[in-house]
């Protein structure tokens, strides 16, 4: 290696390694996060060219103001029933997460991921889509299934990998697949769903269909090549797709700076591709709804793709295998300047005179009971680790449409091993 001092009259270069502002023990202070007033962002016509509203990729679209009023051009003007339904779905997601997190801690399954603090990102977006639009989610959008009123028991069966798990116990918990609700099979490999969503949208366009696709990834995954390939395809073919980036600040222990957040916003990624980019207050369910509705209209009228950055905060750990207290300030979640999405929507409904604390408390109790009842029903089908819930020979099903000889041989070998164990099917 060259002696660094050999050219001592030149300035030394230095490597910048990003560092989050708060670590465990630090006082969290988000005073420098720019939170523009609700209602201040303009709402372009959906037919407007994507290069005409770049400021929306750097600002923050907000609808709910500090007094919980919906203001400005992005107010989707939803009726109280829809707002109450939205609030209920979000509360249900939270109750579901709470219960399943505990189930994992009780040893009933291997793994769980909460979406606490991000409920609006999935629920409000789903409500703004049509029921037959196709979703290519990442692993923290359980709100899509809940907002599409999919069975909680079915979701839990998958989490428990039990006898009623439609995926036959072959997939990690929470990696749902529900084709009949337009919910694509979740992959643990990051951002792989991005080009797939674009491909689905392109196919829909090529066939003259009217359905659009939507996909979600975390801000950390925008560093993956799949993300950039997907943006290129989406731009080139004006694919009818909504590309959601959930900027929840943390990719396990790596803060958003390692995905490039110090230099620009994630919504601004869209600009280089000629895609419309919106940066949205992800804890404002109405802003998420409005932005998605707007992007869906663009997609449906052949104006092309929209990338929406949902600026939010991951209030809990990455997964049940994570301990966020080891790498971030304990106060961060509480000090997050955009508040809690459930609380904000609740306050809005109360401000409208369409809700009150008593009804909210009653609803919380009710959704908790609903989740509890579903859990009881799901656990009747078994929990992970309590026996083999699927017939052993199904282990080889679905590798190919038809089983080739080498898999048939291995299947026979496995069944023979089971017989030879002297306790065939004993673990069932």
């Amino acid at each position: 290696m060259t002696d660094p001092g050999a050219r001592a009259n030149l300035p030394r270069l230095s490597l910048h390694v990003p560092e989050p502002r708060f670590r465990p023990g630090d006082e969290a202070d988000f005073a420098d996060v720019t939170v523009p007033p609700a209602g201040s962002a303009r709402r372009p016509d959906t037919a407007e060219k994507a290069d005409g509203f770049h400021e929306l990729a750097y600002g923050l679209i907000r609808v709910l103001d500090e007094s919980a009023q919906a203001v400005g051009p992005w107010d989707p003007k939803l009726d109280p029933d829809t707002l109450r339904r939205m609030l209920r779905y979000m509360a249900l997601v939270r109750a579901f997460d709470e219960r399943m997190f505990r189930a994992q801690r009780q040893g009933k399954t291997s793994f769980y991921m909460k979406s606490t603090g991000e409920e609006a990102v999935a629920v409000a977006a789903t409500m703004a889509l049509d029921p037959d639009d196709m979703c290519f989610p990442s692993y923290r959008q359980q709100g899509i299934l809940i907002a599409r009123e999919w069975s909680l028991v079915d979701m839990m069966n998958q989490i428990y990998s039990n006898s009623a798990d439609r995926l036959g116990g072959k997939q990690l918990p929470i990696m749902y697949s529900v084709k009949e609700r337009g919910f694509f099979s979740i992959s643990g490999n990051l951002a792989t769903q991005y080009p797939q969503a674009v491909g689905w949208a392109m196919a829909s366009a090529a066939k003259g269909d009217s359905r659009i696709a939507a996909t979600w990834c975390g801000e950390g995954s925008t560093a993956e090549g799949d993300f950039h390939s997907a943006c290129t395809f989406a731009s080139v073919y004006r694919a009818p797709v909504i590309l959601n980036v959930v900027n929840n600040q943390w990719a396990i222990s790596s803060f958003s700076g390692f995905a490039g957040a110090e230099a620009t916003t994630f919504a601004a990624r869209a600009l280089g591709y000629g895609i419309a980019g919106l940066r949205v207050d992800g804890n404002d369910a109405l802003a998420v709804y409005a932005a998605t509705r707007w992007a869906a209209e663009r997609a449906r009228t052949n104006q092309g793709a929209t990338l929406i950055e949902h600026f939010t905060y991951r209030a809990e750990g990455h997964s049940t295998s994570d301990d966020p207290s080891a790498y971030r300030s304990a106060q961060e979640s509480g000090k997050w300047p955009l508040g809690d999405p459930v609380v904000r929507l609740k306050q809005h409904l109360i401000a409208l005179g369409e809700w009150d604390e008593e009804r909210h408390a009653a609803q919380d109790k009710e959704v908790a009971e609903q989740v509890k009842a579903a859990q009881k029903e799901a656990e009747a089908n078994g929990i992970l680790g309590h026996g083999l819930h699927q017939p052993l020979d199904t282990l080889f099903d679905g590798v190919f449409e038809e089983m080739p000889w080498h898999l048939r041989e291995q299947q026979a070998q496995m069944l023979a091993e089971e017989e030879a164990s002297g306790r065939p099917w004993a673990r069932k």
Partner: protein
Amino acid sequence: MNMIQAINSAMDVMMARDPDVIVMGEDVGYFGGVFRATAGLQAKYGKTRVFDTPITEIGIVGVAIGMGAYGLRPVPEIQFADYIYPALDQLVSEAARLRYRSAGEFTAPITVRSPFGGGIFGGQTHSQSPEGIFTHVSGIKTVIPSTPYDAKGLLIAAIEDNDPVLFFEPKRIYNGPFNGHWDRPAENWSKHPGGEVPTGYYHIPLGKAEIVRPGEALTILAYGTMVHVVRGVVEEAGVDAEIIDLRTLVPLDIEAIEASVRKTGRCMIVHEATRTSGFGAELSALVQERCFYHLEAPIERVTGFDTPYPHSLEWAYFPGPVRIGEALRKIMKD
């Protein structure tokens, strides 16, 4: 027809039969592909069914998977197999597992076409044989034709197949069969039985090998270009070898292999890909496991070397007549 024309004809036939078949890839549209494999298809079927793509293999395969999930049957082209590596994750973690992980709710009925193999002075970025990487992956099929007739029938079968298929095209024999002598030109397909290709629909089932030359003295397992190289060497040496063209590596026709080796008692495996952990190692293990008591000599593997594909020295790398001949002498000496 040569192999390029046969491959073109297969896509033409399938696009005419099934409106859900679409062709995509770099340069495949207006231009018709750098090897002309997709020539004329865009003019015939339109730009929404045959289109050029950005240069991003991960995107090409990822988008094809999404289209497959929608219900189409995409036939993406990766311009050279050497460029398939950026798409590896989409193929291995996504296409190959989609049916399994979703219990059949979603599938990836895609056929990824890609020219592979050396012998055209393509250097290390236009010559590799990556089939062994994919045969190691559960859930993906690997098909390699050696004649125009097979190329068309197998490609049609691959497009009809509901599983993801990798269709590797041996570009050294796109225009005519080749006996492995670097200083002699490839022959013309018109004088070869495999050069007679029907213009209409037919298919060759995946998973069925073909005995291209019956024999009693030894069994030689080969695929793609190597089928022709082996045939040339065997004819020149006057050895009574049975040559089996595997045609599909996954699923493999184990019955044909077993029956032949049990009959001849000797087995040689020839491929152009690098040796270590190559598909030849799998074949060798299978033959040993199933035919050990019938073997009269150790199994011989003739392969490319464990180096990147060297540009100017490619004929020293190529498992040609000299290397195959040496292995023949060795296996036949007892």
